[in-house]
Subunit: 577 residues, 2 copies
């Protein structure tokens, strides 16, 4: 049925047909994700609720916003994207997140947590200002419900004086199980399911903020959902409503139901990855913490993906996962450091953006020895625009008091973590997901000291920042060797401060910078500034202005020109200069 | 008494002596602030509460954190800073905010709203980890209580399993009157003051999160505060407590009590400022909104200071002040823009840092026509490190899809706002507080088109970014005229995109950039990148790495070398090259 489904057809279906539609949808999602990768368990939980929403509301006139967004697969299948569904999260394929550019049914792009309530309120307010008449619905998981943005949005509900429907899709999980008092509160509400009067008493928090509350219902019961949504559709004409539903993450696929965390995101091919930087972080920090009882690890809802599962198990008293609260996590680290502890905040590069102000004000202005472990830095791949970690060098490099380090390989990363233990100031270490190559031994880590890996014939020096850049530098270098050109290759393991001694000593006229980051504000731009006015020709290989859409890491780096072949071409083209 | 006060002496005082101490404190604060500038009304409200805290607790062993921080004057006077108090907020004087560098009694630097609960929890958690034994107290105003960070901290209280005392200093004001549902809720609690049983019923929100709640009390009643704090000091040995007190902003100074918003921050000298950019924003936007019903203005708790008081009065349906919720404000703008509205988010540069992730993901990734009106950009002066607006060019310039404009004067600012009305993409306009000089007429605003203001003799071109930079460029230029050097002066009114046509056409060999921003990642660094490899000598006048402490705008710019005299010196020193 999915192949030819339209909003009109769906609305004419019988319950039995709709149930069959759900089954087909679940099957298509499972088969596609197992083959192509993507978010599985969260989407399986959302099938009935999404079908019910499309049955009851009139999209795209009515507006549907998915918090974070990766639970939108059923929505995509119902809105004309069945035929492209096997391209999901692939280069030039459809996105794994809602995209306004992709369909009029996607009204708001999401990717980071907690934005949906604000967005729904903004759209509803705009509707009121324009004097139009449609419904605005946000669907949010209980994991996102921990984020401070939710509170800011709730707090302004009466002020904005507009009505939305907020569907709280409660499956007890972020990527990891949800934590925190709001989660406990939601559990109380869920336990009250059978005792309506108790729910009414307990639901006062939401009512304080001006929401009507209706819950708790089984979000995987299609008929119940259709009836409930039909009823709530009327109610939101006069007030905002939170509809609290429970769904089963991984519903209908036994393996997922058993282990939803492992099947939250599935990589394409599903095979074993090479060793990951996160594993080295976890292993090293766990080892250091054995002898150093000052070491504390803080995460925001993705402990395992960051490699810290064992650390958390071994040192529960020195581990904090605050849920999706990146700002709070950052301040916890800063304040613990004021008391002489040694906090490590591990986070994906893209989510570190949420802590920007706190990095400046709380960590760096106070010059506190917090270490930011910036994982998934550089192109992150299939999640696309909203998840690329290509801005961190740009937004970290100008912050006073902050040292920014970039390891060349897993081995050097381990040494950097060891180094960080005795480093008494703010430090960021940024690294990609995968570790693939080892570049010889690691010279002693000293702040602002680089490492010359290959001595060339004196005309070209490649300054490569991090493992991915070094891989490209070596690829270029090997190609050049064949035509008799020997390039110098330098591991620029500190982006701030630069190794000015090495820079000053470079006899090479051509300086080539390579990095897995935006050109603007990144490593290359610092080198441009440094050699400003000098008799050097600096060429940057980095990402030009523009958001980077989904695709494989290697293909995107190549497309964007950060590529060994390209580097070799550039150097060859300068042989006569 | 203040001159020789110590913690030990204070603890031995009788109530009568303590009341006299409060009177003296209030007098010193009032006289100092009226003369030297600073925060008046918030500090007057805090006198008794602060004296009571010092009487009951043992600082600096116990830890006291002030949210935002500008209400710490009494605390400073009680902790050895009476003799320096007349230097408050002046260059080389004591800070108007808590500073760890200044005193062991200042345990955590604050400046931006909502960080105190997270910081208190982090310090308390560190205490527990270290097995130490002291009390941790955060004092937070009801304005900060709107910020999402509070919720994130509350949500993790049980998780962290530690005890703090949170004093909610409720005066009904941020800088402007507090807004939002949490504020209404606090009002309900306050109204319940006489009916203890009702408070107990209503206070459930805080209890949900694991706080004991005790309120509401008169925070200006010294004796009551001492007794209450003595009691609560015992209670926090076993649980975290919110102590809700009401204080009167401006207490004891009639003019302040009547108009606390006007006396929140008092400028040194207190005299009339020159025309401000904020006034032009308000006037222009109000005028445009008359004919364009799509225009919406959004602020985060400082509508008047941003010049939008009249707009809000005239167009209440198209105005939103969400309280101190910068992230939420940003998403409201983005989402309203998806519905065809034309939102303007006005905010101080330093507070825009809080919206960094939302600017990237919500506004720019979706390429939505939101205009960011970035006020108080550049050095902001007396508030010091935490409030300087010197990072915005660095953190905005690398964001894809964003256009960054910097007006040369008030007149051009007006034209830019008019231009923004028809501009269908993300736009940031950054400007300082004061408008002092007009630089001729304003050529038509086109994206990425600069304006040559002075044609020189072909050797030196000064690229000046914004009014303050242009003032210095002209000062330098005038000095050089006297020695027969005519420099080209260019108004670089777009920092992104650059005017590559004009850059390519520059015949001058020496390119001098001037800006009121960090060098790293700022305008000058973009020019360095642009002329990388070209036969140009580029010299940057911008702020070197490091936080910029308090002082007058002019003296700080001079100290940091962004100064006409300096520019002239540099050019003269190159006359023989």
């Amino acid at each position: 049925m999915l192949e030819t489904i339209t909003e009109a057809k769906l609305k004419k279906m019988t319950l039995k047909e709709l149930i069959a539609l759900c089954e087909e949808t679940r099957e298509v999602i499972t088969q596609t994700v197992l083959k192509s990768g993507g978010h599985l368990s969260s989407n399986l939980g959302m099938v009935e609720l999404t079908v019910a929403l499309h049955y009851v509301f009139d999209f795209p006139d009515d507006k549907l916003i998915f918090d974070v967004g990766h639970q939108c697969y059923t929505h995509k299948l119902l809105t004309g994207r069945y035929n492209k569904f096997n391209t999901i999260r692939q280069k030039n394929g459809i996105s794994g997140f809602p995209k306004r550019d992709e369909s009029p049914f996607d009204c708001y792009d999401t990717g980071h947590a907690g934005t949906s309530v604000s967005a729904a309120l903004g759209i509803a307010k705009a509707r009121d200002i324009k004097g139009e008449n449609f419904d605005v619905i946000a669907v949010i998981g209980d994991g996102s419900f921990n984020n401070g943005l939710i509170y800011e949005a709730f707090n302004s509900l009466r002020l904005l004086n507009t009505n939305i429907l907020l569907i709280l899709n409660d499956n007890g999980m972020s990527i990891a199980p949800t934590v925190g008092s709001m989660h406990e509160y939601l559990e109380i509400l869920s336990e009250d399911m059978a005792h309506k009067s108790k729910v009414d008493r307990h639901a006062k928090i939401f009512e304080r903020f001006g929401f009507g509350y209706d819950g708790v219902y089984d979000g995987n019961d299609l008929e119940a959902m259709i009836n409930k949504l039909t009823e709530v559709k009327e109610r939101i004409k006069t007030e905002s409503v939170i509809l609290h539903v429970i769904t089963k993450k991984g519903k209908g696929y036994a393996f997922c139901e058993d282990d939803p965390e492992a099947t939250h995101g599935i990589s394409k091919g599903g095979g074993a990855q090479s060793m990951e930087y996160s594993q080295v972080l976890g292993r090293t920090l766990t080892r250091l913490a054995e002898k150093n009882d000052k070491i504390v690890a803080v995460t925001a809802a993705m402990t395992s993906s960051l490699g810290l599962g064992d650390f958390f198990k071994k040192y529960p008293d020195r581990s904090v996962d605050v849920g999706i609260c990146e700002e709070h996590a950052t301040i916890l680290c800063a304040s613990m450091a004021t008391e002489g502890l040694k906090p490590y905040y591990a986070v994906y590069s893209t989510f570190l953006q949420r802590s920007f102000d706190e990095i400046i004000i709380d960590i760096c202005e106070q010059n506190l020895p917090v270490t930011l472990c910036v994982d998934r830095a550089g192109i992150s791949g299939a999640d696309g625009e909203t998840h690329q970690g290509v801005f961190d060098l740009s937004f970290l490099s100008f912050i006073p008091n902050l040292t920014v380090a970039v390891p060349k390989d897993l081995n050097e990363f381990e040494k950097m973590i060891e180094f960080s233990e005795g480093f008494n100031a703010p430090l960021a270490i940024r690294y990609p997901r995968e570790g693939k190559r080892q570049f010889g031994d690691c010279q002693k880590i000293e702040v602002g000291k680089w490492e010359k890996l290959v001595e060339g014939d004196g005309k070209y020096a490649i300054l490569a920042c991090g493992e991915r850049a070094l891989i490209q530098a070596y690829m270029g270098g090997n190609e050049l060797k064949r035509v008799g050109i020997a390039v110098t290759i330098i591991n620029t393991r500190f982006v701030k401060p630069l190794d000015t001694e090495m820079l000053d000593g470079l006899k090479e006229k051509f300086i080539i910078t390579v990095e897995d980051n935006m050109l603007s504000g990144g490593f290359g731009s610092l080198i441009n500034g440094y050699f400003n006015g000098a008799e050097k020709i600096v060429k940057n290989f980095a990402y030009a202005d523009g958001f980077i859409s989904q695709g494989g890491v290697a293909e995107l780096m190549k497309e964007r020109g950060v590529d060994g072949k390209n580097i070799a071409e550039y150097i060859k083209s300068n042989e006569n200069r």
